[in-house]
């Protein structure tokens, strides 16, 4: 099979499709891309199904060499991209020929890049998904939850003709530059265990992203908030749930979260804002804003229709000529 060969795996590069769903009953989490907006655009640029498997590149350092004719796109964090040492635009599809060397540098803003290939990477799914969850030892190329390794061949289809390159309209490319985010929150779960004063503290304070943040959850540091209860019977946790352990420092639970847990929760961050949080580097700051569940549904529907109704911009065919003799 043809594909892209891993010359350097980078700091932490994980194959992800849209996620592993319907398996919570056996204790499996969902995995999937932390920044689902950047992920869907990467697939769209390659003409893929929006669930197709791409690589989530944390910080960068991934170097690939193609054995085939294909098309690629990199979205998400500002990670310098070169094809055969020539700079190539992000949020843009690029033609790739056999022997081409694709190099990702290191993020200058944001922290998660999404690297897609035409047709999606062809990995054998496990529990109906290729999403890689290291903690569960599931998914990815070898189905055992390991990140990309040097020497692996990431299988993908060969395309017959390069399509014209396409780009995401400029006004839709997020700015990850100021390392801060406003996160919208639907109040819920044990919100009644947080007094009005505690909620006011939460919604008027700025919290910083700590070093102990990963795909499971982002631990924040800032004004302490104290619920009136310490623990609850373990219960199901949804994406974005804001859990407050005894130290009063909130944790926003992300894609690789534990499926059940016993800490009080204030509500959940809107999915559209999860990517903004996950792009922050340690030291980045967040504020929270409460919205109703009806507002959340409206925002989700609006986002969905905007995405579907936005046309990519066509660019002249870019042919990455090999610089090698």
């Amino acid at each position: 099979m043809s594909g892209l060969k891993v010359i350097q795996p980078g700091i932490f590069s994980l194959p992800q499709d849209s996620g592993r769903f319907g398996q919570h009953a056996v204790g499996l989490t969902t995995g999937g891309p932390l920044d689902s907006n950047a992920f869907r655009w990467a697939n769209r640029l390659c003409g893929n199904a929006l669930e197709a498997t791409a690589i989530e590149v944390t910080i960068g350092g991934l170097v690939l060499e193609s054995t085939t004719t294909t098309q690629i796109a990199l979205t998400g964090a500002d990670i310098p991209l070169t094809i055969n040492k020539k700079p190539a635009a992000l949020w843009h599809s690029h033609a790739i020929n056999p022997g081409d060397r694709i190099e990702l540098g290191f993020a200058t803003a944001g922290s998660r890049g999404y690297f897609a290939v035409a047709g999606g990477f062809q990995f054998e799914p496990i529990f109906n998904s290729a999403s890689t969850v290291p903690r569960e030892a599931l998914g990815g190329l070898t189905q055992d939850g390991t990140a990309l390794q040097t020497g692996q061949l990431l299988p993908c289809e060969t395309v017959k003709d390069h399509r014209d390159s396409q780009a995401v309209p400029k006004h839709l490319v997020p700015d990850y530059g100021n390392n801060s985010a406003l996160l919208r929150v639907v109040l819920g779960y044990q919100q009644e265990a947080f007094s009005n004063l505690q909620k006011q503290v939460f919604f008027t304070s700025q919290y910083a992203v700590t070093e102990s943040s990963d795909r499971m959850g982002y631990r924040l540091k800032g004004s302490k908030i104290t619920p009136s209860i310490e623990g609850i019977l373990s219960e199901g946790i949804c994406l974005g749930a804001i859990q407050v352990p005894a130290d009063g420092q909130p944790i926003v639970l992300l894609n690789d979260r534990q499926t059940i847990g016993g800490y009080p929760k204030l509500g959940s961050v809107l999915s559209l804002d999860i990517g903004k949080l996950a792009q922050l580097m340690p030291g980045g700051t967040v504020r929270f804003e409460a919205i109703s569940v009806e507002q959340a549904h409206n925002l989700l529907a609006l986002d969905h229709h905007q995405f579907l109704n936005t046309a990519l911009e066509s660019r002249l065919k870019t042919i990455a000529k090999s610089t090698k003799p």
Partner: protein, 237 residues
């Protein structure tokens, strides 16, 4: 029979959580399992996933296809259909889940905390083994790790707190007690529960169908087997 202590709360933009009570028991475990089963059918197209737990059920739906009011209505309908009557024979199969028997090789060789637990409880290891087998447990929740089933409730005589220092490696199949819960470790992992034996049956096998021998709401009994049988069933020491 729907009881007034059931409440439905918002959990997030695409999730509602149903609370069935504030402590786990067999009746609640059965209600959680029944409601999950009904919603799997009635919400089919708009349902993303369900997380049954001790006394709650998280219902995750697709907010582009429905809204929380419609999902609430489906949940209320499911709750009003609940039945739980220990004495009604026709309801038993439906409300009590499957009964699953799990073989265990109990010994100080396969259960490094068996002696300590017995000493702490003022019992012999034989008594601990007998008491552990006497209870018919309920699967209250599955989580922590893929296939990790929380079973309750352990007889208070053999309940024991978690180890002060968790082990780096607990072997797959380890049968363990923590407070009034017991479980079989589905895979080798770190863990702080008291190990009293080994079960040769896989609790989580990605290649098997079903993946797990139990689901939330099922009943579990442990049955002692000797070392020879344990090895014959594929157990490893």
């Amino acid at each position: 029979m729907s009881s007034p202590q059931q409440t439905i709360s918002i959990a997030g933009e695409n999730s509602l959580i149903v609370y069935f009570g504030d402590k786990p028991d067999a009746a609640i475990a059965s209600q959680v399992a029944q409601t999950a089963q009904q919603l799997r059918e009635s919400l089919s197209q708009v349902l993303i996933d369900l997380i049954p737990s001790y006394a709650s059920l998280l219902v995750i739906y697709n907010p582009l296809q429905t809204d929380h009011n419609a999902v609430r209505q489906s949940i209320r309908r499911a709750l009003s259909n609940l039945t739980y009557d220990e004495n009604n024979e026709s309801n038993k199969a439906q409300t009590q889940g499957s009964l699953v028997s799990l073989p265990v090789y109990y010994s100080t060789e396969s259960g490094p905390d068996l002696q300590t637990l017995a000493d702490g409880a003022g019992l012999t290891t034989e008594q601990v083994i007998a008491i552990h087998q006497q209870t018919e447990y309920r699967v209250y929740a599955i989580g922590f790790a893929p296939g990790f089933a929380y079973l309750g409730e352990v007889d208070p005589r053999i309940a024991a707190p978690r180890l002060a220092t968790p082990r780096q490696k607990v072997p797959r199949g380890a049968v363990a007690i923590a407070d009034r819960q017991t479980a079989v470790y589905p895979a080798q992992s770190p863990g702080g529960w008291n190990l009293i034996g080994l079960c040769p049956q896989r609790m989580f096998d990605p290649n098997a169908n079903p993946t797990m021998p139990v689901q939330v709401g099922d009943r579990v009994r442990f049955e002692a087997i000797d070392k020879q049988t344990f090895l014959e069933l594929g157990g490893q020491l």
